[in-house]
C-alpha cells in the first residue's frame, strides 16, 4: 500500500476520532513520524473537526465554571497537602536510608577485613611452605656442593697422579720394558704381565702391574734388575694399589728386569722357582 492509499483508507479519521485499535494507533503514529503527508492529512482532518465543533456551540451554564474551578482548587490543595506528610516521610526515609547505608558500609568493611585476614593467612601459609621448600632445596644444594667439592678433590688427586704419570711417560729418556710371564717357562702364572718404565737419564724406575695374581698372605712381589748377570734388588711392591705407577728403587744400569714372589719385606737374592715374569731391556 502506498502512502496516498494509506491516507485515503479512512485510518486518519479513525485515528483522530479515537476509533482505531491499539495496533492501528501505533502504526499510524509511526507513519506520522515517517511521512509528512500522513501528518499533514491528520492535521487537516483535525482542523475540519475542530471547525465543525466550533460551528455549533452550546454554552454550559454560568455556574458550572465556578463549580469546576472550585473542584480544581480542592484538587490542588489535596495534592499540596499530600506533599507535606510525603516530604516528612522522605526525611525519615532518608534517615533510614542513611542508617541502612551505614550498616551496609559496616557490613562491607567487616566482610572486606575478614577477606583480607583470610587472604593474608593463606599467603603466610603459602610463603611459609615455600620458604620451607627453599630451605630444603638450599640444604640439598649445600650437600651436593660439598659432594661435588669432595669428588673434585678426588678428581684433583687423580689428575695429579695422571699428570705425574704423564710427566714420566713424556720424558724422552724413558725406556719401556715389558715383562711377560711367557718369558719364564717355570713361571707359576705364565699369563702374568708387568711393565717397567725406566728413565735412563735420572735412573728412576716405575712399575705398572698389568696382570699378576694376588700374592698369598705373608708374601710380596719383588722387582730385580739384572746387571751383568747379577740380580740387584729394586724394591718390593703390592698389587692392587690405586696408583698406576709404583715408584721403585733407582737403577743406574740394567740389561733385564724380573719379578719374583718373596716373603714380605723382600729377600737379598731372588727365589728362582718363584720368578713370575722377565723382560730384556732393548738396546
Amino acid at each position: 500500500m502506498n502512502i496516498k492509499e494509506y491516507i485515503s483508507s479512512g485510518i486518519v479519521e479513525s485515528y483522530v476520532l479515537g476509533l482505531a485499535d491499539a495496533t492501528e494507533k501505533a502504526e499510524f503514529e509511526s507513519m506520522c513520524i515517517a511521512h509528512d503527508e500522513v501528518r499533514i492529512a491528520r492535521n487537516e482532518f483535525e482542523i475540519l473537526l475542530e471547525q465543525l465543533a466550533f460551528s455549533n456551540l452550546n454554552k454550559p451554564p454560568e455556574e458550572l465554571q465556578g463549580r469546576i474551578f472550585a473542584e480544581i482548587e480542592t484538587e490542588i490543595s489535596k495534592s499540596s497537602s499530600r506533599v507535606i506528610p510525603f516530604s516528612k516521610n522522605i526525611n525519615t526515609e532518608e534517615q533510614a536510608d542513611k542508617a541502612v547505608k551505614y550498616l551496609r558500609m559496616m557490613r562491607l568493611a567487616v566482610a572486606a577485613s575478614l577477606i583480607l585476614f583470610i587472604a593474608s593467612a593463606i599467603l603466610n601459609l603459602y610463603f611459609f611452605n615455600r620458604s620451607k621448600n627453599y630451605l630444603a632445596l638450599y640444604n640439598n644444594l649445600v650437600a651436593s656442593q660439598q659432594q661435588m667439592a669432595a669428588s673434585n678433590k678426588v678428581l684433583e688427586a687423580r689428575l695429579q697422579i695422571f699428570q705425574n704419570d704423564l710427566a714420566i711417560l713424556k720424558d724422552p729418556q724413558l725406556t719401556i720394558v715389558k715383562l711377560p710371564g711367557t718369558n719364564v717357562p717355570t713361571s707359576p702364572a705364565r699369563n702374568s704381565l708387568a711393565t717397567v718404565y725406566w728413565n735412563q737419564g735420572n735412573k728412576e724406575v716405575y712399575l705398572l702391574v698389568n696382570n699378576m695374581p694376588q700374592p698369598a698372605p705373608g708374601k710380596q712381589y719383588q722387582l730385580w734388575a739384572l746387571v751383568d748377570g747379577k740380580p740387584v734388588d729394586a724394591g718390593v711392591f703390592d698389587t692392587g694399589t690405586e696408583s698406576s705407577f709404583v715408584k721403585m728403587k733407582n737403577i743406574p744400569n740394567a740389561q733385564a728386569f724380573a719379578i719374583t714372589l718373596e716373603n714380605t719385606g723382600g729377600s737379598s737374592s731372588p727365589t728362582m722357582e718363584q720368578m713370575y715374569v722377565l723382560g730384556n731391556v732393548k738396546t
Partner: protein, 202 residues
C-alpha cells in the same frame, strides 16, 4: 539608546498589565497554551475554559443529552484535562483533538456506567418522577448539530455504525454482535463511512 530600550520593555510590561486590568484575555498560540497549562498556570486554565468549554460541552451533550448529567460529565472532563495535561503529546495531534477525545471518553464511560444505566431504568418508574421532570425540562436536542448533522447525510446503514462506534462507544466486536454482521464487514463499513464523513465535512 539604552534608556530607549528599557522604556520599550517597561511599556510592554505596562501593556500586559493593562490588558489584564481591563479583563481582556490575550490570545495564545496552541503551543504557548500547552506550555502554560503544563506549567500549572491558573490563568491559562481560565483561558482554556473560556475558549473550549462550549465546544466540549456540545460534544458531551451529543452523547449525554441530559443537561444535569452533561454538566457533571463536563466537570469530569476539565478535571481530567487538568490532571492529564502532563501526558499530552503535541506531536500526536492538536490540543483540541486531545480534549475532544477526553470529552468523548468521559461521556461514553458515564454512558456505560452502572449509575447511568440505573438512572435510565429509574426513568421508567413513577416514584422517580421528580428527577424525571427535571431531566425532561433540560433535555437538549443535539441531533441537528456538529458531527451528528454530518451523519444525517450518510446512508442509514453507515450512520448506524458510526453512531454505535463513535457516540455509543461500542467496540467493533460488540457492533458485529448487535448488528449481526461479520466483524470484517463492520470494519470495512466503518472505514467507508469515515471516508464519506470527511467528504461531507469538506
Amino acid at each position: 539608546m539604552c534608556g530607549y530600550g528599557n522604556q520599550n520593555i517597561l511599556s510592554l510590561y505596562l501593556d500586559h498589565n493593562y490588558t489584564e486590568f481591563l479583563g481582556t484575555t490575550p490570545t495564545y498560540t496552541e503551543s504557548e497554551l500547552v506550555m502554560m497549562l503544563k506549567g500549572r498556570d491558573n490563568q491559562s486554565f481560565s483561558y482554556l475554559y473560556n475558549n473550549y468549554s462550549a465546544a466540549l460541552y456540545t460534544i458531551v451533550q451529543q452523547i449525554i443529552p441530559d443537561q444535569e448529567l452533561a454538566n457533571d460529565v463536563l466537570q469530569e472532563v476539565f478535571i481530567n484535562i487538568w490532571r492529564k495535561i502532563e501526558s499530552y503529546d503535541q506531536s500526536k495531534g492538536r490540543l483540541f483533538t486531545w480534549m475532544l477525545n477526553i470529552a468523548r471518553n468521559a461521556s461514553i464511560d458515564f454512558l456505560r456506567s452502572k449509575a447511568y444505566q440505573n438512572s435510565k431504568k429509574n426513568q421508567q418508574f413513577p416514584e422517580t418522577q421528580e428527577l424525571d421532570i427535571a431531566r425532561h425540562s433540560t433535555q437538549l436536542n443535539t441531533d441537528n448539530i456538529g458531527l451528528k448533522k454530518i451523519l444525517l447525510k450518510l446512508k442509514a446503514e453507515s450512520r448506524v455504525l458510526i453512531d454505535l462506534a463513535y457516540f455509543k462507544g461500542y467496540t467493533h466486536e460488540e457492533i458485529a454482535e448487535i448488528e449481526e454482521i461479520p466483524l470484517g464487514t463492520v470494519k470495512t463499513r466503518i472505514r467507508t463511512a469515515l471516508i464519506q464523513l470527511r467528504e461531507h465535512l469538506k
